[in-house]
């Protein structure tokens, strides 16, 4: 149950703020088709990841890699995977800081926001995975309530004519829009590392698949809603359309209701960053063969803090990076790496069974 919640929050994570604008730039009016295809792809991908993680439900990701590929090659693969997770964390905390500085608190320096957020993430990661999942269970109803409020209260503003020109650009635009959605689904491969920590092993795969599908559905709903409410031309100009959805709500005595949208986003982003940070801290502590991963959390936190400023000079650089490189990077770790692991496992099983039949 907790894994279900974590998967939802993980997928929704940082995508909820960036995916609507990314999809719209690719697939102009056909967001819903791109979204539906994305949901199907989410089911398939989560099946793939669940299959891969069945191989090492008791051992752990790093011992499994060491067993399959030998000591050095397994370590290199694990290090590259950890690099992927760490780059993901850097991107996410910068996105979060950039969002806060752009929209909510323009006068606060970026470093302060990132520092505070990182401190909370480090504390969360030190407390361990169980505490994180219980906290997710507690915060999840709030997430759902605010999400529902956002969707339902915006529904009167939705004009269905905004969806009008169907198939305007042909299949090419659908594929382009879908690609932006899919590159975020590949990040959920990081959850493979957490599978060994779950107690009820048989239900873990089902919870995972359900959670990822529902998370992608939520993303599609938000993207679709932002298209319906704003229309295509306004949507193309906005960088954070889901935040704008919150701004269109006005009550008589309550102002700045859009902070509710920010709360949704904070909850999901915090859990995604905390889990990714936990995975990378655990990974580095296993690579260096330390018993407790908690000693490494603070140094890695400072390291990532420094890297997030060195690696990403500005918001434009981030957008350029996502547009130019992120898809193939996440395909390498989200699709090719699990497929590679599965094929190696199949080859090992085929090698074993002829021997046993021969004897």
């Amino acid at each position: 149950m907790q894994f279900f919640i974590i998967s939802i929050l993980f997928v929704v994570g940082d995508a909820i703020l960036y995916v609507p604008s990314l999809i719209v730039q690719g697939a102009s009016h056909t967001i819903w088709i791109a979204g539906l295809i994305g949901m199907g792809e989410a089911v398939l991908l989560s099946l793939l990841y669940a299959l891969v993680s069945q191989q090492f439900t008791t051992k752990g990701f790093f011992p499994y890699l060491e067993l399959t590929f030998g000591r050095w090659l397994g370590r290199i693969f694990f290090l590259l995977f950890l690099l992927y997770v760490m780059v993901d964390v850097i991107l996410m905390i910068f996105e979060m800081g950039s969002f806060m500085v752009t929209v909510i608190m323009p006068e606060t320096p970026l470093e302060a926001i990132i520092m505070v957020f990182l401190l909370v993430v480090i504390i969360g990661a030190r407390l361990g995975l169980e505490t994180l999942s219980r906290a997710a269970e507690v915060l999840f109803p709030w997430f759902c309530v605010f999400f529902f409020l956002l969707v339902c209260l915006n529904f009167p503003n939705a004009k269905f004519e905004n969806m009008q020109p169907f198939f305007e650009g042909g299949i090419h635009t659908i594929v382009k829009g879908n690609v932006s959605l899919v590159s975020y689904i590949f990040e959920s491969a990081i959850l493979i590392v957490i599978f060994p920590y779950i107690r009820e092993k048989d239900q873990a795969a089902k919870a995972y698949i359900k959670g990822i599908t529902i998370g992608v559905t939520l993303l599609v709903i938000i993207s679709l809603l932002s298209l319906l409410v704003f229309g295509f031309s306004t949507l193309k100009m906005e960088l954070y359309p889901s935040y704008l959805l919150g701004q269109t709500l006005e009550f008589n005595f309550l102002s700045h209701v859009e902070v509710i949208m920010a709360v949704i986003w904070f909850i999901s982003l915090f859990f995604k960053v905390a889990i990714c940070f936990f995975v990378s801290a655990q990974g580095i502590s296993q690579l260096v063969k330390i018993q407790d991963y908690r000693i490494v959390t603070f140094p890695i936190g400072i390291f990532l803090f420094a890297l997030s400023f060195i690696c990403i000079p500005s918001s434009m650089y981030l957008i350029h990076f996502i547009n130019s490189t992120w898809l193939s990077y996440s395909i390498t770790y989200g699709l090719l790496f699990p497929l590679f692991l599965l094929t190696v496992e199949l080859i090992r099983k085929n090698r074993k069974s002829p021997r046993m039949n021969g004897r």
Binding site: V87, P109, E111, A112, I114, M115, L118, L119, H172, V175, K176, V179, V288, K289, I290, D292, R294, I295, V296, F298, P299, I300, G301, I302, F303, F305, A306, L307, F309, I310, C311, I312, Y317, F321, S324, T325, L327, S328, Y329, I331, T332
Partner: protein, 71 residues
Amino acid sequence: MIFSLLLFTIVALVTELPNIRKNNIKKERWIFLTFMFLGIGLTILYTLQVPMPNLLDLLTAIFNYPNTLLP
């Protein structure tokens, strides 16, 4: 920037000092100090505006070409 770095290091040392003094395990001490110096050094270099190689540039150089093949 420097304030946040100081805050980070102070919090890190305060939380980790009892652990390191109790266990007295050399390897963990070494790893902790190495990573801390790495992070602090990077932050100091960034504050001094020393041009540094960008990790994402390396990733872009590797993954730019496959990305042009995809839609």
